[in-house]
Every structure is written in structure tokens, then in C-alpha cells.
């Protein structure tokens, strides 16, 4: 299983990013091989549609699970269509969230915002 998490830094102990679409990096953890890689989010500086592009990025990395603080409706539509399960992040770091997910302590993220584009 591959778990995706939007993160703020590319280091050994990255903190979780509150933004999904515009997170600078994504962490992908493979639970079978126990490998973790952090890859630059190609949607971070998109003019528009960042959520869709970031969701596509997560789909293309064959993730099965996304752990995020929040997400937009369009991103959720892409992710759910690709059968990715979305969980609500807790705490500060990616590591805490991976442990919490493994222990079954995370809840599904059920509500998605309408997007911040053109909003004050």
C-alpha cells in the first residue's frame, strides 16, 4: 500500500502541510517495502486547478491512501474516482500520521471545501 502525505519540507522529519494542492512536497510511503520518498509537487505554483493537478500527481504515484489536513471538492472528485481513501491528518509530522494511520487512529475526511481561488 502507498500512502501519500503533503509535507512542508524535504528532510527526514517533514511536517505535514496544511494545504493539499499547493503543498511544496509530497511524501510517498510504501508499506510493503517500507520505503519513503519525498517528491516536489508539480502543482505547487499552478495558476489555477492546483488541487486537480496535485490529485493527479497522487493518482499517478499509485497511492492508495492520502492523509491530509484538508482538501478541495475538485481534488476529492479526482482522488475518490481513483479509489484513493482520504484520511484526516492529526498532529504535526508525517511520521506521527503514518503511525496513527497504521494503528487505525485516523478518521476518514468526509468534507471538502469549495476552493479558495478568487476568494479573499
Amino acid at each position: 500500500m502507498i500512502i501519500a502525505i503533503p509535507v512542508n519540507e524535504n528532510n527526514a522529519e517533514p511536517s505535514i502541510c496544511v494545504s493539499f494542492g499547493r503543498a511544496p512536497w509530497f511524501l510517498f510511503h510504501n508499506t510493503v517495502t517500507d520505503e519513503t520518498q519525498i517528491i516536489k509537487n508539480p502543482a505547487a505554483n499552478a495558476e489555477g486547478g492546483a488541487g486537480i493537478k496535485a490529485a493527479q500527481f497522487v493518482v499517478d504515484h499509485t497511492a492508495n491512501v492520502l492523509i491530509t489536513v484538508r482538501g478541495g471538492e475538485n481534488a476529492a472528485e479526482v482522488l475518490l474516482a481513483a479509489d484513493i481513501q482520504i484520511y484526516k491528518a492529526q498532529g504535526r509530522t508525517a511520521r506521527e500520521n503514518l503511525s496513527a494511520f497504521t494503528e487505525g487512529k485516523l478518521e476518514k475526511l468526509e468534507s471538502f471545501h469549495a476552493g479558495f481561488h478568487h476568494k479573499q
Binding site: A43, A46, E47, G48, G49, A50, I52, K53, A55, Q56, V59, N74, E77, V78, A81, A82, H118
Partner: protein
Amino acid sequence: MKIAVLSGKGGTGKTFVSVNLAVATQNATYIDCDVEEPNGHLFLKPEHIQANPVHTLLPDFNTDKCTGCRKCVDFCRFNALAFIKGKPKVFPEICHSCGGCVLVCPAGAVAEHGHPVGRIEHGAFGDVSVVTGVLNLGEASAVPVIRAALAEGLTGERHTVIDCPPGSGCPVLESVSASDYCVLVAEPTAFGLHNLQMVVEMVRLLKKSCGIVINKMEDPYEPLEGFCRQSGIRVLCRIPYSETLAKLNAAAQIAYEHDESSRVLFDTLLQRIEAEVKL
């Protein structure tokens, strides 16, 4: 002569100035580009209205022909397309109807269909030709309807008054783009000044000449007066904060037709704009 009337802040009196300028001008066309909530028609009560729908184009994907090459998804700079389980999917609110996906598809699998987003109403009020753009409820982008309203109204050599939406974003840029001159309606308040500064920055970016109308004026608001002096933008007129004007507006009456001092004021404003445009 094409005059755009804008303000940044809503409720400063764009429509008030626009409809009175349109009536003061002989044989003018009035275009309401505030398509999210057009209200010029409440004052200029157009008759013999002809309405035409406005459509934008959205892509349709023929899944039998689609080879899954993703060229369309990679091409879309607006990220309006996603590729899920081997099929492209469009997000209509993000799509800018550029048609790029149709062009780049090597398999001819992308066609387009018209999606209704609003309508243009065209009628007459005396010698004023009244064009109103109306955006459908829930549509994300006003720009296609504004573009259609301008295309409908900006024909021939008639003098035109373009009543712009509030703000200083894409809908305002689109509304202002074809104008010769911008009238910036400002309210003598801190909020009014702040938004005036934003639209001044915008019209300068577009290299449009402009003048300021101070509306709802009581005592001079020194920060606004100071900004006008420093920016070198001419104050074309000052409209008093008056009960008479408030009552006429609330009754959807045109001040130019019912109030002698307003008639003089808007005739003078029009002359000053004409002189500025000739400069």
C-alpha cells in the same frame, strides 16, 4: 468614444454615474457588464428586448477513440483535465474553453459542446441602446458573458458607456479593455480610497487614461483629496451626498431627467470627459 465606469469598491455609484452619462450623451449605448447582478436596466427601462443565450465550449471525450495518451491532460495549463482509470475527465468550472485539448488530441477523440452560461438582453430606452449581460446563477466565470455583451454593444460609432463590475480582477479587466477612457467613481471613505488605489494601478497597467468622480461627497476627505493631487489624476466632478439623489435612486428614477442640478452636473462631466479623450 467608449467610456468605462469602474470603482473597485461596490456601491460607490458606478451604475448611477453610468446611466446618467448614457442619458446625457446623445444616442448612446449603455452596456451593463456587471453581469453577476446587472441593475442598469432598473433605471434605463429597456423596451423591445431581444435576448440571446451565451455559451462556452466544453470538451467531450469519445472514450472509444481515446487511446489514453494524456496529451490533452498534459497540455491543459488551467489543470481543468484529470486522467483517471484510463479516461480523461473535465472540470467545467476550471475549463477556459481554449480548445487546446481538441487540437492536441492525435486520435480525434475530443469534440466540444456549447454550455449555456448566461444571456445578452438588448433593448431601447428612448435614444439609449441598452445592452445587459446576465450571468446564470452558479456560473464561476463572468468573462464569457462580458465578452458577449461588449461584442453586442460595441458596434458602429455610437458613444458607449460601459458599466463595469466591482473589483479589479479579470471581469473588470475584460470590461475596461475596449474603452478609450476610464471614469473612476470614488467614495470619500478609507475603504473607497483603498479600492480606488487598486483600480488606478489596474488602469495604469492597461495604459488607459482616466479621471475621478467623487460621489456621495460631504466635507472633503483629505486622504482622498491628497491621493488625487499626488497621482495627478483629474477630479472630473464631485457629486454631493444628497437626499434628493438618494430618493430618486431608490425610486429607480434617472437624476438627469428629474433634477436640474444633476442635469448640469452630468452635462459638465460629459464635456470634461470629451475634452480629456481628445487630449
